[in-house]
Symmetry: C2
Subunit: 245 residues, 2 copies
């Protein structure tokens, strides 16, 4: 009996944004493992075991999933968005690093539409030129490193997609980040707050940095800060393909 482990991205919310490859994997799974909110999003299917767990237990969840695959189960770990972008794939490889026998397991990573791509599409094309993706959570890195990256990324004139801008346990970080960005880019830089993208609760709001306040974001929000050339055309926001030094 040979098990396997697939680490799959569900996309940002709508089933219309889940790839056929991921749908097929879910159909073949004996066990589906993930943060309860994402596991609950799936349509229940007869005979499949659902293992929902708390958001903060990523490494334990990865180890549990690997142990199930080792036992011969067909396991899918689900992430929102893309599993390789601030999600479960890195946690699984961390778990494997600590337990070399798991390296022999049949493991595949299936990409998904990550939040910044769906947010950018809903707003127009703010990531149409060079950009970066930065996780604003300081759970796993020091705040000083986040500030340093924000400064260097704006110095490089990249657009910025900011993940996990704000949570109940970290209410101050995003206010500090907005301060750093205003200092680096001035008050007129465009900022898009994209919340619950592709779900019925989707909201897309674009303001200038001078008007941005921390309360515009929560953990369901991805924030896109434009580069110096990001601008409005009609109701859209976009960054031109062309840039000068």
């Amino acid at each position: 009996m040979t098990g396997w482990l697939i680490i799959a991205g569900l996309g940002p919310g709508s089933d219309e944004l889940m790839t056929p490859e991921v749908s097929a994997a879910l159909d073949e799974a004996s066990d589906i493992v993930g943060y309860s909110t994402y596991v609950d999003r799936l349509k229940p299917r007869l005979g499949v075991a659902l293992h929902g767990s708390d958001n903060r237990e990523e490494l334990k969840r990865a180890r549990d999933a690997l142990a199930l695959a080792e036992d011969g189960r067909n396991v899918v770990i689900v992430s929102s968005g893309d599993p390789g972008v601030f999600a479960m794939a890195a946690a699984v490889f961390e778990a494997i690093e600590g337990e070399p026998r798991w390296q022999k397991l049949d493991i595949r990573v299936l990409p998904g539409i990550t939040a910044m791509l769906a947010a950018a599409a809903a707003a127009g094309a703010p990531l149409g030129h060079d950009f970066c993706a930065i996780n604003l959570s300081d759970n796993l890195k020091p705040w000083e490193l986040i500030e340093r990256r924000l400064r260097l990324a704006t110095e490089a004139d990249l657009a910025l997609a900011l993940y996990n801008p704000r949570s109940k346990s970290r209410p101050q970080g995003f206010a500090k980040a907005l301060g750093v960005l205003r200092e680096a880019c001035g008050t007129e830089r465009l900022v898009t707050f994209a919340r619950a993208v592709s779900t019925p609760e989707q909201t897309i709001v674009t303001v200038e940095l001078g008007e941005a306040v921390p309360e515009m974001a929560d953990m369901q929000t991805v924030v896109i800060v434009g580069s110096s050339s990001t601008r409005r055309v009609g109701n859209w926001i976009y960054t031109p393909r062309r840039a000068v030094s």
Copy 2:
């Protein structure tokens, strides 16, 4: 008669990575517009007009598609990967900026799996921590700006996804980029060359920067340069979620 324009991402190659939303749009289109290579990838359907054009004519292609939608046609512009990442969405908004009456058209952008996400999934999770996406083509920006961004991104210790590393008309740029990266990161940094991801021709090769040569990349390749903490575990490449200053 009201037309519409959808700017859709086909994903990196395999139909299994195309979202249901994009498949549905292609089914409803009267006209499909795009670079011939991508248009030819689609299954022909009775009654749909296919408009393939040359790769370098992005702005003209955008204008042609907008004119068709204005004439009442249901138009899908296709891009490989995600339309908002170094692809057609920004070109469409540029065209609209020059022709304000087009702002009233019914326009939607549908996201897709961009090459770096599919490449990262095939390699493991090299983009599992903060990263950036930089287009190495100097067709629309000066080379100095590309070098500057490479230096600042490595100073910020981001992983780098490099698009359009090398073409016949720009044979020297990628060699220069590798030189800049070796100077900034040393020779042991891991570099993944992901070619034709998700197609039958897919190849994934990871080497150290000291061993990387320009000929490892072509226009079908996305190159992922790791951060200082990117490493191998078994046959996989990943960047841990945790980082220190």
